[in-house]
Amino acid sequence: MDDTILEIKELRRDFIMGDQVVHALKGVSFTVSKGEFITIMGSSGSGKSTMLNILGCLDKPTNGDYLLDKVAVKTLSRNQLAELRNRKIGFVFQAYNLLPRTTALENVELPLLYNPTYNASQRRERAMHALEQVRLAERYDHTPNQLSGGQQQRVAIARALVNDPVMILADEATGNLDTRTSYEIMTLVQDLNQKEGKTIVFVTHEPDIASFSSRTVMLRDGRVQKDSVNENVRSAKESLDALPVTDDY
């Protein structure tokens, strides 16, 4: 049985800036199978975010095909794309993007408000469950400005999880965090991948983070430079435990 979840073929994305054309993606192809944890690496400006936005159905390619769960995304309307983002994709941003002055629980509930199949108590229950998964249940009534960066990112992950998506896309989700907090987040991501079977596409700069994934796609100047399977996947949990315990100073 074919368990390909996403497939991109010769993906191109041009940005037109006045009379100048920026070729952000110059023909990228690869496939991702269900349950894979892949990291996308590359230098700044190599087109990682551009590609992830297309994978997340937030942006459309100028050329090329994108099949998500065998559906050609090109053929979908704006509203169908919104529904797809709501049901199948969980997006985690580098800048967290939580609503200010809104509690963690309400932030996590947000995607469910755009999904009429859940009623108020189901929404609450699912959001609470997602918060438990990121181990923030007891902070459910805190607003973002009462949470640390790592905690805010965990709320954002809970928000990405709450609609039970098949795929989680993260764009430098650990970019703003220190090593310890990054490892905590990666432990969480590895758990989601291994225990819940979620497909994960994780954009990062750091080779360190990439070593937790099972496969790494290297982008360079809008093209795939290298697509390699990671033979020995590190356990984020163990790396976290191995970190020297630094006392607060």
Partner: protein
């Protein structure tokens, strides 16, 4: 799409920006409150004029001398001093005009009323006994004077409450007492029921009423009348009565066709209409001004919504990235605008009612709230919310998710 959820989202967004939402509402609150208060003041003043004029006798017809003919040398005489109306006019009207059931001549003089050490400047009104019926006046204590007393130039009078209060400050019973008006001694035989101030702020109780013969002969020494008061058999018949009187008086005064009357006849109804049309005009004017403030409130909503869409671009981008459709965003902002304007409208209605109440109790007016004003201003502001909220909301719904997320 689930409209209930969108309403919930809008509610939370308003809650998150309480102060800003309130400031936005302020324009609407003031606009609606102003419209309601202005309309209430207008309506109340109209009703007040109406009721105070009709309390003076709604069937009343007054006849005044009116000399519009230029005198030699171009001098016009003021109407009260013209020697035109006589007792013969009164008698003819009484005999020939069947639409009139009460009639009274009228002469008046100002002067000092004196009792012992107390004195009070007031007006004496010389009339027939019918005058009380015509003016809807009643006697609280004592009796009216009689036709017999009119024939005898009797030195008797009826007095209003203000006169009593000033001449008898210690609360003695005025009935039977003799006071002087100028240097004529007069016996008080009755006290009028107090009527208070009329719409124009005149004290209707500051009056002495005496037989017209007494005033004409003993005080004014004249044979001419200053006015004639009559009452029509009914309010509807007033206009016909006026026509009859006019025809009769033109004959009596030998006025040729094409020549102007030397008198004028006014009905109370005419006066009421004149007064209330002035006040309607005021109401319209005030309401228009208030309406403008409502529109300005609406523009305030548009302004704030517009700023808010720009300011919340990232929020919009985020909502879209987690599955909000364009229509979800459109409705969210529309509903936000509507909730703000409807809430502002409700608060405005309450504030308008309170301020109408305060105005009416300060001015001692009857509280008149027109339901129309409430309904209209409420719907106007709900409409305002949709109208002025639509464009910014549409702008928000058309944002591109990626660009919105990148917005700084």
């Amino acid at each position: 799409m689930n409209i209930l959820n969108i309403i919930r989202i809008s509610f939370k967004a308003i809650q998150r920006n309480k102060l800003r939402s309130f400031l936005t509402m302020l324009g609407i609150i003031i606009g609606v409150a102003a419209v309601i208060t202005m309309m209430s003041i207008g309506e109340a003043s109209k009703q007040n004029i109406r009721s105070s004029l009709s309390s003076m006798g709604s069937n009343m017809i007054s006849i005044m001398p009116y000399n519009n003919m230029a005198m030699p040398g171009g001098v016009r005489l003021s109407s009260s001093n013209v020697d035109i109306l006589t007792m013969s006019d009164v008698n003819q009207i009484e005999k020939n005009v069947d639409l009139v059931n009460h009639i009274s001549p009228g002469v008046q003089s100002s002067g000092q009323a004196i009792k012992g050490a107390n004195n009070w400047p007031t007006t004496i009104q010389g009339v027939s006994p019918d005058y009380l019926t015509i003016r809807a006046l009643t006697i609280k204590d004592g009796v009216n004077f009689s036709d017999q007393q009119v024939r005898e130039f009797a030195k008797v009078c009826l007095v209003g409450k203000t006169v009593v209060d000033n001449l008898f400050p210690n609360g003695e019973d005025p009935i039977g007492q003799t006071i002087r008006f100028g240097n004529i001694p007069m016996q008080i035989i009755g006290v009028l029921t107090p009527k208070g101030q009329n719409t124009f702020g005149q004290d209707q109780d500051d009056i002495i009423i005496a037989p017209y013969t007494t005033v004409m002969k003993r005080i004014l020494a004249t044979t001419y009348l200053q006015s004639i008061y009559a009452s029509a058999v009914s309010e509807e018949m007033s206009d016909s009565a006026v026509t009859q009187i006019t025809t009769l008086l033109r004959q009596a005064h030998k006025i040729r066709a094409g020549q102007d009357d030397d008198f004028m006849v006014r009905t109370q109804a005419e006066l009421i209409n004149m007064m209330s049309s002035t006040s309607s005009m005021m109401t319209t004017l005030l309401t228009a001004v208030a309406g403008i403030s409502l529109v300005i409130g609406g523009i305030g909503i548009m302004n704030i919504m517009y700023v808010s869409v720009t300011e919340r671009t990232r929020e919009i981008g985020l909502r879209m990235s987690i599955g909000a459709k364009g229509s979800d965003i459109l409705f969210q902002f529309l509903i936000e605008a509507m909730l703000i304007s409807v809430a502002g409208g409700l608060i405005g209605v309450i504030l308008g009612l309170v301020s109408s109440y305060i105005v009416s109790s300060v001015l001692h007016w009857e509280l008149v709230i027109s339901q129309m004003s409430i309904i209209i201003s409420f719907f106007v502001c709900a409409f305002t919310g949709v109208f002025f909220g639509y464009y910014p909301a549409l702008k928000a719904s058309r944002l591109d998710p990626i660009e919105a997320l990148r917005y700084e």
